[in-house]
Symmetry: C2
Subunit: 259 residues, 2 copies
């Protein structure tokens, strides 16, 4: 019944939170209206008050903040299975916006459904809360990396993160994945100009740390890139906290709690 994106959302929750069969079932019964978004279209307009959260079914979305001159700063990326704007459940009025970085499909899930879910199932409430905490953890790491580090290390870190996240949701391997963000999107994430982003990316390519054809990213030497970035995936709060764990994730699958 629910391979319209909700199953991927449940899978994401269970990466970090154990849920009973009943709770899983309840999550899978979430429903909402499907929308197709054009590239560049706003999923959430800055300052809007919303009565629903948006689940990314396919594509890539970015949360952004606007400054006075209209410059964008991206503060999160959302992949398929991510519930963007889950924050809006406790805080329906958001200052930020979310836009589609590529043509994509989303599922709008009413707050009413989510609130009913969390009031009935305590474990689900904690799971959703944890989901926003993960978002905040990534944000804190971005701040630490982008404010302190050089553009090269910052970009390297972002690519490592996207690699792990893509692999975790089954979209390629951490060393080989498709990341549909333009160089300008990346520049607006790291707080650089697109010119400097271009040169930084070239530097990584010249060092043999990254290869790109189209929007496909290849990381020929993961350890070296991770070392340059000082990348430690612990902040992504995936279950097995010790550092070398990514291999296990796929084998575990979604049925962690069959009872």
């Amino acid at each position: 019944m629910a391979s319209d994106g909700v199953a991927e959302f449940l899978r994401r929750l269970m990466l970090r939170s154990p849920l009973s069969a009943e709770e899983q079932h309840a999550v899978l019964h979430l429903s909402g209206q499907r929308y197709a978004m054009a590239s560049g279209q706003d999923i959430v307009t800055p300052g809007q008050t919303v009565d629903h959260a948006c689940l990314v079914v396919t594509g890539l979305a970015g949360r952004f903040d606007l400054d006075g001159e209209g410059c964008r700063q991206f503060t999160a990326f959302y992949l398929p299975g991510d519930m963007c704007d889950l924050h809006s459940v406790p805080s329906p009025h958001t200052g930020w916006g979310i836009s589609a970085l590529v043509p994509m499909t989303i599922l709008r899930i009413p707050h009413a459904e989510l609130r009913a879910l969390v009031s009935r199932y305590n474990a689900v409430a904690l799971a959703l809360w944890l989901d926003t905490v993960v978002d905040a953890s990534i944000l804190a790491k971005w701040l630490a990396i982008f404010a302190h580090k050089t553009a090269k290390a910052g970009l390297a870190h972002l690519l490592c993160e996207m690699g792990i996240r893509m692999e975790t949701v089954g979209l390629g391997a951490k060393t080989h994945f498709t990341f549909e963000a333009t160089q300008e999107h990346l520049a607006d994430t790291l707080g650089l100009t697109k010119v400097h982003m271009n040169r930084t990316l070239q530097a990584l390519r010249k060092d043999g740390l990254v290869e790109c054809v189209g929007r496909v990213i290849d990381i020929p030497d993961w350890p070296r890139l991770a070392k340059l970035a000082e990348f430690d995936p612990a902040y992504l709060l995936l279950k097995p906290q010790p550092t070398h764990f990514t291999a296990q994730i796929h084998e575990r699958g979604i049925a962690a709690n069959p009872d």
Copy 2:
């Protein structure tokens, strides 16, 4: 019975979330052990797994991230009444640390108590969740400002934020408050060196935008500082979202929902 810091925490929650008398009462019954922390001491060590959250009773705490070379990046400041590390309720293992920036007293509240509270009272669960969302909202704003803007505008923005937050918790006015962070702490927040932070602060002083004696901050011309910073307090998610509201906050007091 509970003017040991818990009342201030309840007050903070009620700035953003309406709670019934029973719910308020339940929050006030939170208890924990009181600790005195020395300046510079870690309240939470990076990588630690905790079974309690820490309520700031007096003083100032900072959440930080460490990079490979041991450089600190602060990712949050916590004032009296703030529950630092509330994130640890859904995620007990944290990558970041929290340290006392001045001598301070805290209250350690066991996760067990907080979890019992949220499982009984749905509105409290949403209130706590919202509290971590506010934290994330500040983080997103910091990223946007510090990554994009010049040091001068970034520092101006931080001072505006601290002014509003101090006034909101009743510690001075937004244009006149005590902020016990050293220039080095500020540098580690904006991602600058302490040398450059010093010069940036001097620039603000020379422009007549800020005056400091000791750790007391004076903002002679708030509108001009706010304009330089492009400061809009909406991201702090205080209740009356329209822009000019700070006057009302004090008058409302804690008894917003007497029933």
